[in-house]
């Protein structure tokens, strides 16, 4: 029976032990530890939140960069395209001009050649007439003066005219 009858001395010792322990724990021991635990929990939560924010921000930036990159690329393509178009038109223009010039040059050259040729022809004709007269004179034995020549031509013309009268 004595087993479950508490000893009074023990009970008083325990009451004192409880009082001392509770006051020490409550006032001195637990506050720094619980404060630290709360602080750590807050810090971890804050860090996580900040990390999340940073991640969102980074994603936003990345998205922005991507858009900018695409824009820049499109612009670059446009610029190149435009350049090519300008170059193309320039090329055709230059080619056309060159062709035109060449054409004009050619035409001029042909004209010049034609003129030369005509002049040469005329000269040759004169030469040939003189020569043939000279040759004819030599063959006939006497050279005809201009006057004789003209008289001959007239006589010839008169003969031809009489022929016509028949």
């Amino acid at each position: 029976m004595e087993l479950i009858i508490p000893n009074t001395t023990e009970m008083w010792v325990n009451v004192v032990a409880f009082a001392v322990l509770f006051i020490v724990m409550w006032k001195f021991a637990f506050p720094p530890i619980t404060k630290m635990l709360d602080e750590r929990a807050n810090k971890i939560r804050e860090s996580l939140e900040r990390a999340e924010e940073t991640r969102v921000e980074a994603e936003r930036l990345l998205e922005e960069y991507k858009v900018q990159m695409a824009e820049a690329r499109a612009e670059a393509t446009q610029v190149i395209e435009q350049g090519r178009k300008v170059a193309e038109s320039m090329k055709t223009e230059i080619l056309a001009k060159a062709k035109e010039e060449a054409e004009a040059e050619k035409a001029k050259a042909i004209e010049a050649i034609q003129a030369e040729k005509a002049a040469a022809m005329a000269e040759i004709k004169g030469e040939v007439a003189d020569l043939s007269v000279a040759v004819a004179g030599k063959i006939i034995g006497s050279s005809l003066s201009k006057k004789d020549h003209e008289a001959l031509i007239d006589k010839y013309l008169a003969e031809v005219g009489s022929l016509n009268e028949n």
Partner: protein, 251 residues
């Protein structure tokens, strides 16, 4: 055999620690005071070492504090349970240190005597009823013993049953802790007695009994360490449940 067991029981009974002591300290209270001093040193050192990045003793204390605060107080009572933490934490550390110290051989667990466990159980009883009465007043608290919606003719019966169950609480709380510690030490002692007997009259049976008893006492020692932690936890969690019941008496 019987006299050895009687000797063991005498060893475990409450008796003066020393005949010469001026103050009549019992064997259990002697070890209880040592456990309390160790606990005070431990918590003061731990609270000094509380850093944002914990280390060493601080780490152990923080793990234990966090376990009691979140695993017991908040789990049972919800967020407002943190207010009760100093009391429940004191309970937990006191019981844990006494139980564990009792597992180091010459020491006895300070909780292995009814003087300790009943005192602490009565403290729990007074505190939880005090919290309940402070919250809603004495008469409403008494009235709340009978759940609302009970038929009028059953109310007196329920009231008496509830009253008895409330007054049994400190008793069961104390007996549970005491009996666990006491029974554990008797078991350990019984196997030690077996070993002593086997060595005293060394026969063929001793060759079997001796190693088996040794093995059993090793296993039981490990089990006792487990029980020490478990009983500290149960004592704490029941305290929390009782306080929670008192806070929410009217629901």
């Amino acid at each position: 055999m019987t006299e050895k067991i009687a000797e063991l029981l005498h060893e475990l009974s409450v008796r003066p620690f020393s005949e010469h002591a001026a103050f009549s300290l019992t064997n259990y209270t002697f070890w209880l005071i040592i456990a309390v001093v160790l606990l005070l040193v431990f918590v003061v050192v731990a609270s000094r070492k509380a850093r944002l990045v914990p280390s060493g003793v601080g780490n152990i204390a923080e793990a234990a504090v966090d376990f009691v605060r979140n695993g017991v107080c908040v789990d049972i009572m919800g967020p407002e349970g943190k207010k009760c933490f100093p009391f429940i934490g004191t309970m937990f550390f006191f019981v844990l240190f006494n139980n564990l110290l009792g597992n180091i051989p010459p020491a006895l667990p300070g909780t292995g005597t009814v003087g300790t466990t009943f005192t602490w159980a009565i403290v729990v009883f007074l505190v939880y009823n005090g919290i309940g009465i402070k919250k809603i007043g004495f008469f409403r608290y008494i009235k709340a013993l009978v759940p609302s919606g009970t038929p009028v003719f059953l109310a007196p019966l329920i009231f008496v049953i509830e009253l008895i169950s409330h007054f049994l609480r400190p008793f069961t709380l104390g007996v549970r802790l005491f009996a666990n510690m006491y029974a554990g030490h008797i078991m350990l002692g019984v196997f030690t007695v077996f070993m002593a007997l086997a060595l005293e009259h060394f026969t063929a049976t001793s060759a079997i009994v001796l190693p088996l008893s040794f093995l059993m006492s090793v296993i039981l020692r490990a089990f006792e360490v487990f029980v020490a932690v478990l009983q500290a936890y149960i004592f704490t969690i029941l305290t929390a449940v009782y306080i929670n019941g008192a806070i929410h008496a009217e629901h």
